[in-house]
Symmetry: C2
Subunit: 300 residues, 2 copies
């Protein structure tokens, strides 16, 4: 599971002393079943690279419904067959799609989606981060997602954190269709918040994008077509036969387990740490996501 | 130059309209010679991978003098000959050194350096970030480095940003000698600030570390020795013959150019951006560093 390996205690060895204080991973491991929520199969986009790497993306229809509907239509219409990862810019993004192709849109794709860069704050139940944020009046978590928000402005938006997935676009008023997507592979480029449509996050396999060779052209584009990384398929989990379908669940950001996890992320006091920070950045509190082991119906 | 490719305008195409507003790169390109300061050759550590990749690290003796002295002695004593990059953890760090080797320390290496996790605030001239920071009372820039600080506590420290280089250690009170180093290759792990010795930053070639395959063992360790990435040499630039010696300069963080650069980083209003954030994270204001073209003494 990705979330667990991201933040294990740091150090060359890790001999555990007798009175071990809780790490974020300890809290995740101890969370009861009630603290977890399943990700609907219609919200999971499964991208298989031709080299065998699998990247699983959770879509966020509550934040960018038209773009997410487009992405579902593109996946169902096999739009990305023959697509590639053609841009990998260090400390920024990996981007994929049908670059420089005029492949027609499948049925049901809105050519000019609205600018879904924010949504109404109303309707979201927010767990505040509890630390200051440089990019918005408020920051926290809602429905399993990191969000920025403004009580005064009445808006909320998904934030650009590591592994966030957004829609490549040209200059405004173009918002992109969803045919070209990018994932963040470096320091959170929060300056893009509210300037582009975020549609989800990579919940598994980000390393297949983040470890790709960097493009040497402007914007991290690969110089030669031969460098492009071919994509074998992009499918919704709901279109994969149930026996082979991957499933994931995320920690409920309104749960007591998440509150404890957030507190410990801001106050690391386990073995390695001698001075807890007393604060944490929104993008350093990755919402735990884990692969669900399917207990499929079996004849007994 | 690394700094310039990190933050070029985002988007698939980039046709420039007539009235173009300044980007951070425009400001860097227009900065006068007086805005730049050379990095002393004794502060540049040049690590060549056996595969040909070169990583250049600027050392920070003003923040961790004993650890930096150790690193210089280790380089001069060829301690890292035969060393490897043995750990690459996604969204965290790449780490290298003589893992699991009992190679003796060269002369002049302090076996137990002090905990150089902070330094006195006094003596530093700080350009404030101007945005809130989740990890410290104050954040800004001093002598070309991103720093956190506390006027009340009287301390300042280097911060863990993308490409920051620190000293691997075991549990406290061990502070590490400098023989095992790591570079940040993901979201700034600021929770490590003031818990470990930072000694510098990668100013060129970070992509040779960030694009390495991720280790599949705990902490991102490579499973098999065969996966380790061999290091050909680690030398101080001052020990490289002058004609072949790489040289770099950084933007003076007390200069008017840097003030303008910082302002625009917090208020992107160039072509692509429709809503400037009005704030910026410390680690999203990478201090510009550029390779210096040597005008070596030539017979005329």
């Amino acid at each position: 599971m990705k979330a667990s390996i991201l933040f294990v205690a740091f150090g060359l060895t890790g001999a555990a002393p007798a009175a071990k204080l809780q790490t974020p991973n300890d809290i995740v491991a101890a969370a009861p079943a009630s603290a977890w929520k399943p990700i609907p199969a219609d919200d999971l986009l499964v991208m298989d690279l031709a080299n065998g790497g699998r990247i699983v993306i959770q879509l966020a229809p509550a934040f960018a419904p038209v773009h997410v509907a487009n992405i579902r239509a593109l996946a169902r219409g096999h739009y990305w067959d023959g697509a590639t990862v053609y841009r990998v810019q260090d400390n920024y993004v990996a981007q994929w799609g049908q670059n420089e192709s005029d492949k027609p849109w499948p049925a049901g794709v809105a050519a000019k989606p609205p600018a879904e860069y924010t949504r109404p704050l109303k309707g979201l139940s927010i767990t505040p981060l509890g630390s200051p944020d440089a990019y918005a009046p408020g920051a926290g978590f809602a429905a399993g997602w990191p969000v920025a928000y403004s009580p005064k402005g009445g808006w909320a938006d998904l934030t650009h954190c590591y592994a966030s997935v957004g829609v490549g676009r040209d200059l405004s008023p173009d918002t992109g269709t969803g045919g070209e997507l990018y994932a963040v592979i470096g320091q959170a480029p929060r300056q893009l918040d509210r300037n582009i449509a975020l549609v989800g996050r990579v919940v598994d396999g980000i390393e297949h994008l983040s470890s790709l060779p960097r493009g040497t052209e402007a914007l991290g584009m690969y110089k030669d077509k031969a460098e492009d990384v071919p994509i074998a398929s992009v499918r919704l989990a709901s279109d994969i036969p149930e026996a082979a379908r991957p499933a994931y669940e995320y920690m409920d950001t309104a749960s007591a387990s998440f509150a404890r996890y957030l507190h410990v992320r801001a106050n690391r006091h386990d073995d390695f740490y001698i001075r807890p920070a007393g604060g944490v950045d929104l993008c350093n509190v990755q919402v735990p996501v884990r692969k669900k082991v399917l207990t499929a119906a079996r004849p007994e």
